[in-house]
């Protein structure tokens, strides 16, 4: 198998055993990037020279006999809404087309201690608003499994890069499913940690109470290892959890005997494609064979989750994105006076979906509408959280499809934002409740597109989620067959 098609843990072992060099590995990934990028379009910024320099530094460490971190010398990609000092962070927006952050996000600082190789910044829906990466102001990203299809979103570039072999691993962000859904569409593993598990400092805010950074990888083992690197309390993020961080790889036991899995009936209703439902049910069947116990549960407020999400997220976005005004950073479109300058800048530099959400958000917060919309949404959010608290009294994890369908054709949904929003039905409740969840491949639809299984856990219990995911992963070989093909040597 080509190096670029392997997992990070396989490559790490090979580096430690000196079977390969980091330079050799990076060359392989960069070559694959060069070969696929024109068709896939996963990246906004590629960093070939910087990547080679990082790889060589790791090789020197290895040659000097130094101990190396899990990600040392392993090429990865960073979603372009995570601030990287000295490298452009565009959020796939004309507003930040030339924005270079003067500081590193906390996750970048944590990664840096591992000496990874960063091969680029990935495409996304503008300011992470969307589920197909079609809202990028920079380019369209194609699903490497079927180039006519979307990669999902908003972390579509990160998922596509991992699926295409132009990165071994990637970081994404998940506000309403933006890691899990593209992972599902591209046939990779995507983990959204508990809200507060990973610092948000340096993640360009979309909806502050929902956003969370997490890994996209080829398998569950890699996800657990990257969680070990990026998790933990951060003084710079008041909402980050002070809870102790476990060694997530200890969850990779394969043992799920007695594990109680809940199947929420609301997640298997109308709108779920039959092949998705059957794949997910087959996966759950596999887990029962390993000794897990399955019970049907109810999360009664699920039907309100999308409406609730599309009030809270835009309301937070409306204020978070108020800072893009052309005054002191980012794009500026001149005008006769300050008001006109700000208006021109925001009118011309934000894309249509961003403007739509800013308008929804400001409307929901306006005098006279606040109680009816925003405040009501906060109350429903509490009810949704209670649904989960109640459910988790009797089960350890909750299993359901990640998305109602496999990836759809590029352009097929753009004219119907409401239908697009409904695609988030099985991912947004988790963000509203702040819980951890994972998506991993559990099947392939008739047209060759991957299907994702979503497993959700209790607050700060990524361990159980990873344990169940890993145990299931060992029973099948989707993660082995869904590897990048073709490209260059």
């Amino acid at each position: 198998m080509k190096l670029y098609a392997k997992t990070a843990h396989e490559l790490h072992d090979m580096l430690v055993a000196k079977e390969i060099s980091a330079a050799e590995l990076t060359e392989s990934v960069l070559a694959q990037q060069a070969a696929t990028e024109e068709k896939v379009g996963a990246y906004i910024t590629t960093l070939a020279d910087e990547a080679m320099a990082q790889a060589k530094a790791v090789d020197e460490k290895i040659a000097a006999g130094e101990k190396i971190g899990f990600l040392a010398g392993i090429p990865g990609a960073i979603k372009d809404n995570i601030c990287t000092k000295g490298i452009k962070t565009t959020c796939a927006s004309k507003m930040l087309e030339n924005f270079v952050a003067p500081y590193d996000a906390t996750v970048m600082t944590k990664l840096a201690a591992e000496n990874p190789v960063v091969v680029g910044k990935t495409n996304m829906d503008e300011f992470a608003m969307g589920g197909s990466t079609e809202n990028s102001a920079m380019k369209i990203t194609h699903n490497p499994r079927n180039l006519d299809c979307v990669p999902g979103g908003s972390s579509g570039g990160s998922a596509a890069a991992v699926a295409a072999g132009s990165a071994i691993w990637a970081l994404g962000s998940d506000t309403g499913g933006s890691i899990r859904q593209p992972a599902s569409f591209c046939g990779v593993v995507g983990l959204k940690p508990t809200y507060g598990r990973v610092s948000r400092y340096g993640l360009v805010a979309f909806a502050s109470s929902l956003d969370q950074i997490g890994p996209l990888t080829r398998d569950v083992t890699d996800a657990a290892n990257i969680m070990n690197v990026i998790s933990g309390h951060d003084m710079m993020d008041s909402t980050s959890s002070p809870a102790e961080v476990p060694d997530f790889t200890k969850a990779l036991t394969g043992d799920v005997k007695g594990l109680k899995i809940g199947l929420p009936k609301e997640y298997f209703g109308a709108g779920i494609a039959p092949e998705v439902a059957s794949s997910v049910k087959a996966a759950i069947e596999q887990l029962t064979k390993l000794g897990a116990e399955v019970t049907e549960i109810s999360l009664p407020h699920t039907e309100y989750a999308v409406s609730t999400y599309y009030l809270i997220a835009p309301a937070e976005a409306a204020t978070n994105l108020a800072r893009y005004d052309g005054v002191s950073f980012g794009a500026r479109v001149e005008g006769a006076d300050i008001v006109e300058m700000m208006t021109n800048t925001r009118t011309q530099k934000f894309g249509p979906e961003v403007k739509r959400r800013i308008m929804i958000g400001n409307y929901a917060l306006s005098a006279g509408y606040y109680d009816a919309y925003y405040l009501k949404a906060l109350k429903v959010r509490t009810l949704i959280q209670r649904d989960f608290t109640e459910a988790f009294k009797s089960v350890d994890v909750i299993a359901c499809p990640t998305a109602p369908t496999p990836a759809y054709k590029i352009g097929s949904m753009v004219s119907d934002p409401l239908a697009m929003y409904m695609m988030d039905i099985s991912t947004v409740p988790l963000n509203l409740a702040g819980l951890p969840g994972i998506s991993l491949p559990c099947g392939v639809a008739a047209d060759g597109l991957p299907i994702g299984l979503q497993l959700m856990g209790k607050p700060l219990d990524e361990m159980t989620v990873l344990r169940a995911a890993y145990a299931y992963e060992q029973t099948q070989d989707y993660h082995k067959t869904l590897v990048p093909e073709g490209g260059a040597e």
Binding site: N81, I82, C83, T89, C91, L96, F99, A101, P102, Y103, A105, R200, Y201, G202, L203, V204, A205, A207, S208, S209, M235, M236, D237, S238, T239, A315, E316, A318, T319, A322, R323, D325, V327, S328, F329, G330, I338, M342, N362, L365, S366, A367, Y370, Y374
Partner: protein, 478 residues
């Protein structure tokens, strides 16, 4: 018809923490533009605020000193409006759960003491400063923004509309300033904008219980402007009403040069701030134990200190003047501790010392005459070593040199003459040379003795003990 004014104040006070409210940048005033900034206070993409615990501590102290209840559960909110000096285009402030509520301060009015209720005290961040290319915003082609002040912590103290005259409003603001200085949470330098007020005022016929329509004047930053702008605005409103007009609810600006208020924007143009809970910060939880700890650490406050000074024999007025500023009250205490008589100490502090300080634009902590030396000088007066008159000379000397008063008195030969023989000789000479005054006195004009005392004092270069001079003259003129 007779009218009364109804006035409420929103006072903004910058807190004297070393660092800003949500980041580690320095708060000091007067630094080079845009040097006290970082990604957080510049509101760059991706940054998050972290609450400076000192700000919470200072706000609680101010609240306790103003008799507020401290909320056990308090949170921050975003107040949304677009302005170029506000990098995030929202101000992180507090909306429905402020840190302090339901307090009061007492002020003196012409009708006696009056209680002014405080609705709430909340914490928020200050904005930056616009630096216009021209002298005013209207004749400027461009403006730069200095973000040094962005994120400097503020508390906003909101009163109930309990004041009914410009004088009361001034007295209230002076009292608030005094308390903030006592609890040591703000420098209260009004010329630097540390303390500024928004004034809300309406008028109504005396006896009417319904409130009239109010207007608001923003960013008033001197006591004089508080009084003057309110006096003007109250008169303006009365005239409008008397002419059969109606008051528009609006924001007006005070033009101190012309002494008038001008309409700035009406209520219809007012902002909808679209407040929402700040999702990047966790709520502030304060326990009863913490509140009691802060309460125990409060210093003696102006009202208590004033009562103590009255007990020491000062008049209520003098005690009020001395205790209005914590620094002056502490200076006073130090002078008394140094052995000076309390009343004399008050007279000297409010008299020559204040006069000299004002003339040189110094604060009492910068006084060249330290409390210890002033105490010693006052002790010399009390012992009769020098007269009050000579003391003025000694004080002037002390202002310009670091010598002890005893040394100055000795070096300049300023010791009071209390030797009866020496004074008698001068008295005899004066009687001999002032026949007319002596004749007037003997003829029944007892006031004529004043001229003679003056002559004796002059002849003795002010060193004769005035009491003894009086006694001797009266005896000799029999």
């Amino acid at each position: 018809m007779k009218y009364e004014a109804v006035i409420g104040l929103e006072i903004h006070s910058e807190l004297k923490t070393n660092t800003k409210i949500f980041c580690g940048c320095a708060t000091s005033f007067g630094a080079e533009q845009n040097t006290h900034v970082c990604p957080v206070c510049l509101g760059l993409p991706g940054v998050l605020p972290v609450v400076n615990r000192r700000v919470v501590e200072f706000a609680i102290k101010a609240g306790l000193a103003m008799n507020c209840e401290i909320n056990h559960f308090s949170k921050f909110d975003r107040k949304n409006y677009y302005y170029p000096d506000l990098p995030k285009n929202f101000q992180t402030s507090q909306f429905d759960l402020p840190i302090c509520e339901h307090g009061y301060v007492d002020i003196d009015t012409v009708n006696g003491p009056k209680r002014i209720r405080i609705t709430r005290i909340h914490m928020e961040e200050d904005a930056g400063k616009l630096v216009h290319s021209g002298s005013t915003i209207k004749d400027s082609d461009s403006s730069n923004v200095d973000y040094n002040r962005t994120g400097v912590p503020l508390i906003e103290i909101v009163s109930e509309p309990d004041m009914s005259s410009p004088e009361e409003a001034r007295a209230y603001m002076e009292k608030v300033k005094s308390i903030l200085e006592y609890v040591d949470v703000s420098n209260c330098r009004m010329e630097q904008g540390n303390l500024r007020a928004d004034l809300n005022v309406s008028v109504r016929p005396v006896g009417e219980t319904k409130l009239g329509t109010r207007t608001e004047m923003k960013n008033i930053n001197s006591f004089k402007a508080v009084e003057d702008s309110l006096a003007y605005e109250i008169q303006r409103q009365i005239e409008v009403v008397e002419d059969g007009g109606t008051i528009r609810q609006e924001t007006r600006t005070w033009d101190p040069n012309k002494g008038i208020t001008l309409s700035m924007r009406s209520k219809e143009e007012a902002q909808d701030y679209r407040y929402m809970p700040e999702p990047d910060l966790v709520p502030i939880v304060t326990t009863d134990e913490e509140i009691e700890e802060y309460r125990k650490k409060l210093p003696e406050l102006p009202d208590a200190r004033r009562a103590r000074l009255v007990e020491m024999g000062l008049t209520a007025y003098d005690a009020g003047v001395i205790t209005a500023s914590r620094a002056m009250a502490e200076y006073f205490d130090a002078v008394v501790e140094g052995g000076a008589d309390a009343k004399l100490a008050a007279n000297w502090i409010m008299g020559d010392l204040s006069k000299n300080l004002n003339a040189e634009g110094k604060t009492i902590t910068e006084s060249p005459v330290e409390a210890g030396r002033l105490a010693k000088m006052i002790a010399l007066i009390s012992k009769g070593t020098i007269s009050s008159k000579i003391a003025k000379t000694v004080f002037a000397e002390m202002w310009n040199c670091p010598d002890e008063p005893e040394k100055i008195v000795e070096a300049k030969g300023l010791v009071q003459i209390t030797d009866t023989g020496a004074i008698e000789a001068i008295v005899d000479e004066v009687i001999a040379n002032n026949e007319k005054a002596v004749a007037d006195y003997k003829g029944g004009n007892k006031k004529a003795i004043g001229a003679l005392v003056g002559q004796v004092m002059k002849a003795s270069k002010g060193k004769a003990n005035p009491g003894m001079v009086n006694q001797l003259l009266a005896k000799k003129l029999g």
